[in-house]
């Protein structure tokens, strides 16, 4: 088996789940403060899935989503992808721009910029928590945004992993506002070599 991710122990999976928990908890708080709404999040899913199955985690490869992508630099290079179904992204823009729910029907330059900033803030919060937990300092790139089919957007991350293996390790959290108006998926996808660094930092390497 050439995949290093396919052979993780239960303890290691737990450690990763805890990292996801702390990181996403911090992100959810940040988002909640920005939009002034309660955010519920589920227990992070840590999954090792065949690359081709990753789009199914968000509803299938042809579902229309808005994706904010950030490359993460540092000792454990990774990718962050924040995916929102189209309707959720539009509602989030309504809130950020002080519009009525349903006003946003397509994204203009300013809307995109606002969503990228959200991706930026969530990633910053996530990585800060990760730093407190692991002492690994990680810096996000400037964000990039695309609105398209989930499979096409995820392929950016999956192709990078595809060079090293046939499975992806994803730490994924689902966010929901309490009115269910916004649902989002936050993915942290460590590069294959980064996994070892993260696991040793929390003592389960």
């Amino acid at each position: 088996m050439s995949d290093d991710v396919a052979s993780l122990s239960a303890t290691q999976m737990d450690a990763l789940r805890e990292i996801g928990n702390v990181g996403a908890g911090n992100s959810a708080t940040a988002l909640s403060q920005i939009i002034n709404k309660r955010i519920d999040m589920n227990v992070p899913r840590v999954s090792i899935v065949p690359l081709g199955d990753v789009p199914d985690l968000v509803g299938g490869p042809d579902v229309m989503v808005v994706g904010v992508f950030l490359r993460v630099y540092g000792k454990a290079p990774s990718n962050i992808l924040f995916l929102l179904p189209k309707e959720s992204a539009f509602y989030l823009v309504d809130m950020l721009m002080g519009k009525k729910r349903g006003d946003t029907q397509k994204l203009d330059f300013l809307d995109e910029s606002a969503l990228m900033e959200i991706g930026n803030i969530l990633s910053g919060a996530y990585l800060n928590a990760l730093f407190n937990f692991t002492n690994i300092s990680l810096l996000p790139s400037i964000p990039a945004l695309a609105m398209d089919m989930a499979g096409a957007i995820l392929s950016v991350v999956l192709i990078q992993l595809g060079q090293m293996g046939d499975h992806a390790l994803v730490i994924e959290t689902e966010f929901k506002t309490d009115d269910e108006g916004i649902k989002g998926h936050f993915f942290l996808v460590p590069d294959p070599g980064s996994l070892e660094t993260i696991l040793s930092a929390v003592g389960v390497g």
């Binding site: 050439s2 995949d3 690359l51 081709g52 789009p55 299938g60 490869p61 042809d62 229309m64 994706g67 992508f69 790139s141 990039a144 945004l145 695309a146 609105m147 398209d148 089919m149 989930a150 499979g151 096409a152 957007i153 995820l154 392929s155 950016v156 999956l158 192709i159 990078q160 595809g162 060079q163 090293m164 293996g165 046939d166």
Partner: protein, 161 residues
């Protein structure tokens, strides 16, 4: 209702009329079809990367242009296709996110398209339709009754190549 056969990421399917082969949500990946118009058999391959020799994990041959295309050729020949009649069409190879300092991996779409054409030309199979590049996703399908290759997008409509 003709059969609709799904082709996943890094996956390859072959078949004959009246089946339609379809692959959803391609970004930088490429959907490569082979088709024998007389016998109405063909295949669809969804590659992710150009070159298996540059990769540490190359067991899945359908992931790469250089190994996936010859495998698809073998399989359609086994279905009775004539090598001299085969034609190829390709679509995909987008760059989904624009970064000022795009690294090589960001531009993998372009490299995928170039590799696909090079491998096909090396095998002597003409590329009769192409829709590659851009910054948007594509869902591609080939109807094996007609050889029509449909490319669907979200903002740029639908076209046949």
């Amino acid at each position: 209702m003709p059969e609709l056969v799904k082709v996943g990421m890094a996956d390859l399917k072959v078949g004959k009329a009246p089946a339609t082969l379809i692959s959803y949500g391609l970004g930088s990946c490429i959907g490569i079809s082979l088709y024998d118009p007389q016998l109405k058999v063909g295949g669809l391959l969804h590659i992710m990367l150009p070159d298996s020799t540059q990769s540490r994990a190359n067991e899945n041959r359908a992931k790469f242009a250089d190994t996936g295309i010859p495998d698809m050729l073998d399989q359609v020949l086994k279905l009775g296709a004539s090598r001299g009649r085969l034609v190829a069409k390709i679509a995909g190879g987008a760059q989904m996110f624009a970064f000022a300092n795009a690294t090589d991996i960001m531009r993998v779409g372009q490299r995928n398209a170039a590799a696909a054409k090079e491998v096909l030309s090396g095998l002597g199979i003409p590329v009769v339709g192409e829709d590659t590049g851009g910054n948007y996703g594509r869902t591609v399908s080939i109807d094996l009754s007609t050889g029509v290759y449909v490319v669907k997008t979200i903002d740029k409509g639908e076209k046949e190549i």
